[in-house]
């Protein structure tokens, strides 16, 4: 499906090294990548292959030791941490393996955080409507501790989509859930994604989940390879 949709995220010659006991350890080298708006891309690979590190670099959570990342045509990876945070607030959302909800806040308040950070109008109503869309309208006042793992991940999905991001990063979103719950979360994720036409970057080692994306890329030996049977 070749199209003239704009490139929303690109990486060029991206690399990350860590100094370990006086030696340089290359975790990622020479990563080139282009993702167009509306695409869904799976990053797959074995544990420790560096796929989570790549996600951190692409999302501007960490800085590369070489190369650069551009987001929506703007320089991204070389910017200051606060500038990257501001760009994330405008158009990037996350879903994590371990949910990453703030334990002290209620479900509703957790969904409100990115809206408030981006200075959106009427954050509470918006947050509430998204909680209803993930089927947790009646659990708005509950704290994460009072929710099951599946419910917590639904709150995380509501938080991600309520911000109406251009780009959504999902890091093993079903990794902490049993198969049935994981399946329902994955369905919800792809349904919401299709509806909002968000660009999705999904890190997973689950081939079935990867298969639901437009294409899959394998991280191996610190480098990126196209997955053979990506799209079916």
């Amino acid at each position: 499906m070749e199209s003239d949709r704009p490139v929303i995220l690109s990486a060029r010659n991206l690399g990350k090294r860590l100094a370990l006991g006086g030696e340089q350890l290359a975790i990622l080298t020479g990563i080139d990548l282009e993702i167009k708006a509306g695409d869904s891309v799976a990053l797959v690979g074995a544990s420790g292959s560096g796929k989570t590190t790549l996600l951190g670099l692409l999302a501007g959570l960490d800085t590369p030791t070489e190369g650069e990342v551009r987001f929506a045509g703007q320089p991204f990876s070389g910017e200051s941490e606060d500038r990257r945070a501001a760009l994330r607030a405008e158009g990037i959302a996350f879903v994590f393996q371990n949910f990453q909800l703030l334990a002290a806040l209620t479900a509703l308040e957790n969904v409100m955080i990115p809206l408030e950070l981006a200075g959106r109008e009427a954050p509470e109503a918006l947050a509430r409507s998204y909680l209803e869309r993930v089927g947790l309208g009646d659990r708005a006042r509950h704290t994460p501790r009072q929710l099951s793992g599946g419910e917590q991940q639904r709150v995380a999905l509501a938080r991600a989509f309520a911000a109406q991001p251009k780009l959504l990063f999902a890091d093993e979103p079903t990794g902490n859930l049993d198969q049935a719950t994981g399946q329902r979360i994955a369905d919800l994720l792809f349904a919401l994604n299709a509806e909002a036409q968000t660009t999705l970057v999904l890190v997973t080692h689950d081939p079935a989940l990867a298969a639901r994306c437009d294409r899959a890329l394998r991280v191996e030996g610190g480098q990126l390879h196209p997955e053979q049977d990506a799209t079916s």
Partner: protein, 825 residues
């Protein structure tokens, strides 16, 4: 935006309990400091007011000449109250008999502090009055009437004046610690001229009394002329009454020390609680940064929380502090019914300032470091936060702490000793704790037995364990130091006024009457006290040069006629500070003076002093200077001679006895049997001193209690700071099959070991600190406190174990799955 979020997070964190310890520590800091300051401030005002009664004024200007009229005008212009007195001794004559009396002629405003008590009958208790004797009348002490066989309404001749006895004078505020030889008579100042006793050369003390605000008094003192000191003495509460002055000084030092320690402990608790809160927030900050929060947003968010928390806690703490001290004073007023002055504004400001300094110096740094948390932490938790500002903030915190220390101590010396003690013992503690924990190499968890598991846990968390041992040790050390000092202080006060201390002094006891008087006391079941021979004499020349009393105030004081005594052995309560006391036999004749007196009049060891006693004249070397325990209400003499110079028949005797209140009726019998003997009751003075000591003792207890609370909070904060790690470890062990009993046992071993070591370190530190405090600050004799070595470890184990097990009961009670889910990630 962030204000709403800050409020919401504050509310949630409060409910979740994360902020409660921080708030409690801050609340305690402000409440303690404000409470202690309010209490000390009011107590000080009350004590000074009460103690001022001993002078009948706040300041007393006394001299051989009349203090100039102009001074009185200046004082009044400054808003000070004034009164004048003239004191002299004179024979008082009834129709049949005569008696030496001590006359105090007073202006109508006398006394400015304290109260006079009068009665209509010599044996009746007195009632407070605000009058003074009207012209033409006098008020006489009961003994005047009893000795002369007079009743109220009779006439007494003083010099050329004939005055009617209008009332019986039972109590005057300024009879002071230097008891009078002769019973007191109070008359109107305007009648003094009529008596014609104030001839040149007569021994008369003119006094101008002043009372009012401290600032006005200081302003007045600043206006006094340069030659003032040569002509007059200026007395305040502390110089006017030595025993009281010492007691007040010590009490104030102790209360200040307590305040100091409370501040230190509270700061420690605030720092620990804030550090833990910040550590707990690191994940949340990483999430918020991932979601787009900038460093500025994070900073505003947590500053906002801290500010709101500080504001609420401050209001609450100030209210609480007022309540606490009000309740305390309500309790106190039952002991001593004295009107208590309202507290000044300084304590409020001091307390608030302390709270905010505490917050800014100790709670702010770890929270500000949160803005340096990197968002990548959401993916990889092991990435430590990079902190650039830590050292700067900690340095600022330390500076603030030093400032606080000096502000509270009010004396660089006090703060210096506390700092030295803390710094020295902390360094020593750290080194020792390191060695103790290092001594056993630990493999794995050693989960086979409870005690090995517990010890291994301590050793594994070596850094945290050392910090905890230091914190426990320091808190315990301060508590031990304060409680031991408290008992030393109370003991010294109690020793000063023991139960059954003589409350009556007997003067003018002839050597012939001595036996008979002792028998009379025996008959009343009253135990006799040692008797001192006493006579009066005056110094007329020093090193062959005759002294002129008009030349200087020092010469005037030196040539006054004084009581003197002689003794072979050094009397109890006396200490030779320079020179040599004469030994029992064969020593050359000599003279000994009280050290301060010798210094004031400019006499030094080796000076030859010419002394006239009656018609005898002695030329004696000054061989010994003595320090006298003025704290005790024992007979004390400025001037003592070696034995053998004067014979017993030259002297009358001074002795004392204790007469319980319910046997006071025996007094008139004694007085009638020995009409020449003067008996002076000092039970009023003793009661006054005892009341003051009782008040101060309560204040001291309260301060100790508050500091104890601060210490407990520190222990709690310190245990909480390793809670998360403990929960994780023990949760894992339980999941792997560790029984509750074994884990509980391990916790007991861990906390008991920690408590024992902390207690031992505390005992060592306290021993050193107490030694320094007692000898350097409180002027108490140095002594070893063996009990510390028992008390330290026992208290350490008890406190640490109780608080530790209470705080970690979750570790063994919460299902391991919950623990691992919440703390395992």
């Amino acid at each position: 935006m962030s204000r709403g979020l800050a409020q919401r997070m504050l509310r949630r964190h409060w409910r979740g309990g994360e902020l409660r310890l921080l708030a409690a520590a801050l609340l305690l800091a402000i409440t303690t400091v404000t409470g202690i300051s309010l209490f000390v401030d009011r107590l000080e005002r009350a004590l000074v007011l009460e103690a001022s009664a001993f002078l009948a004024a706040d300041r007393r200007i006394e001299g051989r000449e009349v203090p100039p009229e102009a001074w009185e005008g200046q004082a009044q212009a400054l808003g000070l109250a004034t009164a004048r007195t003239v004191g002299f001794t004179s024979m008082a004559f009834s129709d049949l008999d005569a008696l030496l009396v001590s006359v105090q002629a007073v202006s109508p405003t006398y006394p400015l502090r304290g109260a006079l008590k009068t009665a209509s009958d010599p044996l009746a208790p007195g009632d407070v009055t605000t009058d003074t004797p009207a012209p033409g009348t006098l008020w006489a002490a009961p003994r005047v009437l009893l000795s002369l066989g007079l009743e109220v309404g009779a006439t007494l001749d003083l010099g050329a004046a004939s005055l009617r006895i209008d009332r019986v004078l039972t109590d005057t505020p300024d009879q002071g610690g230097n008891f009078l030889l002769a019973p007191r008579v109070l008359m109107a100042l305007s009648d003094v001229a009529k008596t014609q006793v104030l001839r040149p050369g007569a021994r008369v003390e003119h006094a101008l009394l002043l009372a009012g605000e401290g600032a006005a008094l200081a302003a007045f003192e600043a206006q006094l002329p340069a030659d003032f000191e040569a002509r007059f003495d200026l007395e305040d509460v502390r110089t006017g009454n030595r025993s009281l002055g010492r007691a007040l000084d010590r009490a104030e030092r102790f209360l200040r020390l307590g305040g100091l320690m409370a501040v230190l402990l509270a700061s420690l608790a605030v720092a620990l609680a804030a550090a833990r809160y910040a550590a707990q927030q690191a994940d949340a900050v990483a999430v918020m940064k991932t979601l787009g929060a900038s460093s500025g947003t994070i900073r505003r968010l947590y500053l906002g929380q801290l500010f709101q928390l500080g504001l609420m806690v401050t209001v609450l703490a100030l209210g609480l502090a007022y309540g606490v001290q009000a309740v305390l004073f309500e309790l106190l007023s039952a002991y001593v019914p004295v009107a208590l002055p309202a507290p000044g504004w300084v304590p409020w400001v001091l307390g608030t300032l302390t709270g905010w300094l505490c917050l800014l110096a100790f709670a702010l740094p770890p929270l500000l470091e949160l803005e340096t948390v990197t968002p990548v932490r959401v993916l990889r938790r092991d990435l430590a936060q990079a902190s650039r500002k830590g050292p700067l903030y900690r340095g600022l915190g330390l500076l603030a702490l030093l400032g606080l220390l000096f502000a509270y101590a009010g004396s660089a010396q006090l703060a210096g000793w506390v700092l030295l003690g803390l710094g020295g013992t902390s360094a020593f503690f750290a080194a020792l704790a390191f060695v103790l924990l290092r001594s056993g190499r630990v493999l794995g968890m050693q989960a086979g037995r409870a005690w090995r598991l517990g010890l291994a846990a301590l050793s594994r968390r070596q850094g945290a364990s050392i910090v905890q041992m230091l914190v426990f040790g320091t808190a315990l050390m301060l508590l031990l130091t304060l409680s031991v000092l408290r008992s030393s202080l109370l003991d010294s006060w109690r020793a000063q006024l023991p139960e059954g201390a003589p409350n009556h002094f007997v003067l003018n006891l002839d050597s012939e009457d001595r036996q008979a008087f002792q028998h009379a006391l025996d008959a009343q079941g009253v135990a006799p006290q040692p008797a001192f021979p006493m006579t009066r004499g005056r110094i007329t020349a020093v090193n062959g040069e005759t002294l002129d009393p008009k030349a200087s105030r020092a010469a005037a004081r030196l040539t006054e006629e004084r009581n003197l005594s002689w003794s072979g052995p050094l009397p109890e309560g006396n200490e030779v500070v320079a020179g040599q006391w004469w030994d029992a036999a064969g020593a050359a004749p000599g003279l000994s003076l009280e050290a301060d007196f010798a210094e004031n009049v400019g006499l030094a060891l080796g000076d030859r002093v010419t002394l006239e006693v009656g018609d005898q004249r002695f030329d004696l070397p000054l061989v010994a200077l003595r320090r006298v325990a003025w704290d005790s209400l024992r007979p004390n003499f400025f001037l003592l001679l070696s034995p053998g110079l004067l014979e017993d028949r030259d002297a009358t005797y001074l002795t004392s006895f204790f007469l319980p209140a319910e046997r006071q009726k025996a007094l008139p019998t004694l007085l009638r049997a020995f009409p020449s003997v003067s008996i002076i009751a000092v039970d009023g003075l003793i009661a006054q001193l005892q009341q003051i000591v009782a008040r101060v003792s309560i204040a001291v207890e309260v301060v100790l209690f508050l500091v104890l609370g601060a210490g407990a909070l520190v222990l709690l904060a310190s245990i909480q700071s390793t809670m998360d790690e403990r929960l994780r470890e023990y949760g894992l062990l339980r999941a792997l099959g560790g029984s509750r009993q074994r884990l509980q046992g391990a916790l007991v071993v861990e906390f008991a070991t920690l408590g024992t070591f902390a207690g031992l370190l505390a005992a060592l530190g306290a021993e050193l600190m107490i030694w320094a405090m007692e000898t350097q600050l409180f002027g108490l004799p140095a002594q070893s406190h063996g009990i510390l070595w028992l008390l330290g470890p026992v208290l350490g184990v008890a406190l640490v174990l109780t608080l530790g097990l209470l705080a970690t009961r979750k570790v063994v009670s919460v299902p391991p799955l919950t623990v691992l889910r919440e703390h395992g990630a």
